[in-house]
């Protein structure tokens, strides 16, 4: 019998009707002879509503208490789904993260899974039950409830799939797969039937919101194939896995983008050891997450240093950076809040020259100015004006012929 872990997101369980619908889908999968373990998110806006409630009580809710509070959202949806399955004649049982053995560290609100003890889940499966696990949550070795932060339910699902030796983790949401670019921007964008972990990671990190990078990483480490598909249709979805055939690797697989980029430039920085640490350490301490960093070649031991952040953090980051700039004797600081980024992603790009050149040429032909460039093994990213992001995505999609089949 094939063991499948299915994960349903908040929109898939938003109402009683949605929940009954999901129950039928799960039952169908069971009827095909699969063993099914299900992970669910909280219904619709439950999590946001609970957070609002906490803020009615206090401006600074205790993280420990907030985690317990939020964990109830997934418990509610898991029990309702188990009831719906029993109602149509399928033995089922809901388990909280703690009961399902999702052991985490004690970093409340952003806990990391340290171990999954699948004993209880396996026992219930052996008793013939469809097990429904509350996502997004775990428990410390002191038996305190934690939540996993962003992408938490995805992570629960992949971790469970790994621990149980599932053959696939199916992630259902209102999006029916991974596209070569955002279909709202590029109408001719094509759904990929498969993509490898690294490419998906770059797509996810660089703007594609379909699945959280944590879950993809975990899938890669534990060799769990992840199917991204819609819970509202029967369209086949996209399989994220490691075994993408070699001949598919040497090409651009997708275009990712992000409208929310701001940059800060520190001009006239004395180029000596410790300067980068002096600038980025205070930002990290303040919880500001720095994305791309570019340092120009030094002239007369003086250099410029530019980095990007999300727009909401610009003001705070600028204040910190101006302070540091004075201390290290830099000439000045400047910022630009209206930037975006566009990336081409594909395994093996660095071994096959010409992709970067093609990207830069395409942007040039569109008269789009490139502010910064950063690259990885399988990605080339350009920081451009926010107002030109849509044009850039469309042009690159055409240039790399992504509308035509794999």
């Amino acid at each position: 019998m094939t063991l499948i872990v299915q994960k349903y997101g908040g929109t898939s369980v938003a109402s009683a009707e949605h929940i009954r619908n999901i129950a039928r889908r799960i039952a169908e999968s069971k009827d095909k002879g699969n063993e099914v373990v299900v992970v669910v998110s909280a219904m619709g806006d439950t999590t946001d509503d609970l957070i609002k409630f906490a803020h009615q009580i206090t401006d600074h809710p205790s993280e420990r208490e907030l985690d317990v509070l939020l964990s109830t959202g997934e418990i509610v949806s898991s029990t309702l789904l188990a009831m719906a399955l029993k109602d149509i004649g399928y033995e089922s049982i809901s388990l909280s993260g703690a009961q399902a053995g999702i052991m985490t560290d004690d970093s409340f609100s952003q806990a990391r899974i340290v171990n999954v003890d699948g004993k209880r889940v396996k026992k219930e499966m052996e008793a013939g039950k469809i097990v429904i696990v509350a996502g997004f949550q775990g428990v410390t070795d002191r038996m305190d409830i934690t939540t996993l932060g962003r992408g938490g339910s995805d992570t629960t699902a992949v971790a469970l799939a790994a621990a149980l030796g599932a053959s696939v983790c199916e992630r259902y949401t209102d999006v029916d797969g991974i596209y070569t670019a955002d279909p709202r921007i590029v109408p001719e964008a094509r759904k990929l039937t498969e993509i490898c972990y690294e490419e998906m990671l770059e797509m996810a990190t660089y703007g594609a919101k379909m699945i959280h990078p944590r879950a993809v990483e975990l899938g890669e480490i534990f060799h769990v194939p992840i199917l991204v598909a819609s819970s509202f249709t029967n369209s086949p979805g996209t399989l994220i896995h490691g075994g993408v055939s070699m001949e598919l690797r040497n090409r651009v697989r997708g275009i990712a983008h992000d409208f929310d980029v701001a940059k800060i430039t520190v001009v006239g920085v004395p180029d000596r050891p410790g300067i980068a640490a002096a600038i980025f350490q205070p930002l990290a301490v303040s919880g500001i997450s720095v994305d791309t960093i570019v340092q120009n070649a030094s002239i007369n031991n003086i250099t410029d240093l530019t980095f990007t952040i999300s727009r909401s953090q610009l003001q705070k980051a600028m204040a910190i950076t101006e302070n540091v700039a004075k201390q290290i004797g830099a000439a000045s600081c400047s910022s630009d809040a209206k930037l975006g980024k566009v990336s081409i992603i594909g395994t093996g790009m660095q071994n096959a020259p010409g992709y970067a050149a093609q990207m830069f040429t395409t942007l040039f032909e569109q008269n789009i100015n490139i502010h910064m460039i950063s690259t990885s093994e399988i990605r080339i990213t350009c920081i451009i004006e926010e107002s030109r992001v849509r044009d850039a995505v469309r042009a690159l999609h055409r240039a790399f012929k992504l509308e035509t089949g794999e």
Copy 2:
């Protein structure tokens, strides 16, 4: 340091403002030098809302799943209260029933507490924290969540008080104590400063809704005094305990009543062993709870048998009883749905004659017909027309001079 367990009901935690208010009351108690452990119910109508939700999914929700679902209500209020306490500078931690060591049997929806393991609660108290425990719930030795049924949070509070060796269990609600009769019926009803467990049990079982009998029983067994008071005022409340002074015992302490009584009479029952079992066993199996039972003296081995039930169960009970009546060769069945009951309650009544006579005389003077009579050590109950219950309560309150002090 004195250890106090406080329990706050649903109306006391109905909104963010209510919760902040309760937090201040708890803080005051702590400031007076007490150690405080708090048990909370779910906010306002949360439990009813969750039950409605389950019924949107299925007409027959699994009891196991329903218990997990309902348990989230108390978890939400416990976390919010812990946040509110921290917000005003008091270290606090919420614990679920399971975390607080409330161990139960596995009778879902009406579990009984089998043991309280106070280790975790004590540890948090030693760390200087005010512990907030989610009421109404526990956990089986298989780590399955259970709920305790009606009066569950009261029971949690008294059980915790017993396990921790608390000096008192304070139960706060929107009622400020136990009255000699319902003040809505008898305006001159007087609040009792103290009452003994047995009297309270009879008051609670016979119509006074202030506290669930289970909690009172538990208090009696483990010698935990229970203070019933309002969370909205500072009025002193009523202390339920075992040490009520002897001289107070030989008098009527209160009048209880119930508007919801129906009776069934089986006429012409052959009086032979096993007849009572034949009638009441099928009712018990169907979950119908029978209250007063009266069997007339047998004439020529034929007797009449009358029993009372709550009105909502009359139809079902009548169908079952008619069926049994045929089988055992009884002559006929009849029912009356519009009855009520009135009780006088006071320890030692049976040793001091005249109370029963005074009660019957008072009802006769009001021209109130008595359908049935039942008595216990400390209670005399008359079943009367529902329409005369108010008159009966008022007249008895006057006759026994309950408006004058203790």
